[in-house]
């Protein structure tokens, strides 16, 4: 086909682009994924029985805040990566901030708390925490990939990794409504490990799944 014919054809099928259309696929995919993930968490693991009193304690809000800030920054980075020609460096690097802050909090706790270090480190659920976060994150991860495929990422492995980190953090946020752990060191290690595992999966899949 001649390029001129192609241009005529393309301009013949032009539809107005509504404002905000650039963000819609990702928001939609993530929204549906998060709903599925919440339902999965509820029926598989259940809410922590002491959720109501826990909501008045600071460890709950620490987990809530860490995962939410992590997810928000990763979402911002994914959004920029899905818009060609948009600089995503600052957004991508900013994800290190909550991780560093959480780790600092964990180390601080280790130095100040009278509890034995092993107890702070392992908590009571370190053997299931990362795996559960991984599983709870998967619906969100699939939703994010679905959305990103309808956008235009040009750096596929990186975009996959960021999508994974986002899904991991959002999944960890959902998981925090089940998890009864209250240690900062525990969260900074095992929550982060669960989140990063989804990021690694994304980095591996991105090149194949995100092509458009």
């Amino acid at each position: 086909m001649k390029t001129d014919d192609l241009i005529a054809e393309l301009s013949g099928t032009l539809r107005p682009t509504p404002p905000g259309a650039g963000v819609m696929p990702l928001v939609l995919g993530i929204g549906i994924g998060a709903a599925v993930s919440a339902v999965l968490m509820f029926f598989w693991l259940g809410l922590r029985p002491d959720l109501m009193p826990a909501m008045h304690s600071s460890p709950f809000w620490m987990k809530f805040g860490y995962t939410l800030v992590f997810a928000a920054l990763a979402f911002w980075a994914a959004l920029r990566l899905a818009h060609p020609g948009t600089d995503a460096k600052t957004a991508t690097r900013s994800i290190a901030l909550p991780v560093a802050a959480m780790l600092a909090l964990g180390v601080f706790e280790l130095m100040r708390s009278p509890a034995p270090p092993a107890q702070l480190f392992y908590g009571t659920s370190h053997d299931v925490c990362p795996e559960r976060i991984f599983v709870v994150s998967l619906p969100i991860f699939l939703g994010a990939l679905w959305g990103l495929r309808r956008m235009a990422p040009t750096r596929l492995a990186l975009t996959g990794a960021i999508a994974g980190l986002f899904a991991g953090a959002a999944g960890a946020w959902v998981y925090a409504f089940h998890c009864g752990e209250s240690g900062a060191l525990f969260v900074s290690v095992w929550y982060t490990l669960g989140i990063v595992s989804v990021g690694v999966l994304g980095a591996l899949l991105g090149r194949f799944v995100l092509r458009w």
Binding site: T3, D4, I7, S11, T13, L14, H83, P84, G85, T154
Partner: protein
């Protein structure tokens, strides 16, 4: 700026502006791909692929960002995708390989504007010489043919123009 205005009109559904935009872009893209692949047919395929990809992804243009950065990011993606798909290790001269991976965002737009400003200080005929040989990358012979000059006149002209520019540059800094 001109292209961005057309793009904004296209996003509002103006098919005529869109058609003009695609026609102008196809020229830019043809020149871009001609430097990256071996045959004109390959370059043309990539022009069409890029235009089609753009068309399907119009909603991913962020109106707060430079328009050309968006277009060339898509063009570069399609180029790399094409290399990968064909598993063809097309040879790119080492000095050009940087351009393939370069981050063509605001920085390069700024650089382009700086170069334009500097060039504008030259008289018209010299400006044309430098543009053709150093920016468009034509050979001395091609430039001579295009401007109807002898090859030696082109060489001397370019040499003098660059000398003038170098002088101005050192005076400024």
């Amino acid at each position: 700026m001109h292209l961005k205005v057309l793009m904004l009109a296209a996003l509002d559904g103006d098919a005529r502006a869109y058609r003009t935009l695609l026609t102008e872009l196809s020229g830019h893209l043809r020149a871009y791909f001609a430097r990256k692949v071996k045959t004109a047919a390959d370059a043309e395929d990539l022009v069409q692929e890029t235009l089609t990809a753009m068309h399907r992804r119009l909603h991913t243009y962020d109106v707060n960002q430079p328009f050309t950065a968006w277009v060339y990011a898509i063009a570069r993606y399609k180029l790399i995708d094409n290399f990968r798909r064909n598993r063809l290790r097309q040879t790119i001269p080492l000095e050009d390989a940087g351009a393939l991976f370069a981050d063509e965002t605001e920085d390069s737009a700024n650089a382009k504007r700086d170069v334009e400003q500097l060039l504008n200080t030259l008289p018209q005929n010299k400006r044309e010489l430098v543009r053709l040989t150093k920016i468009e990358g034509l050979s001395t012979a091609e430039t001579a043919a295009k401007l109807g000059l002898s090859e030696s006149a082109v060489k001397v002209g370019v040499h003098r123009a660059l000398k003038t520019l170098a002088q101005q540059f050192s005076e400024k800094t």
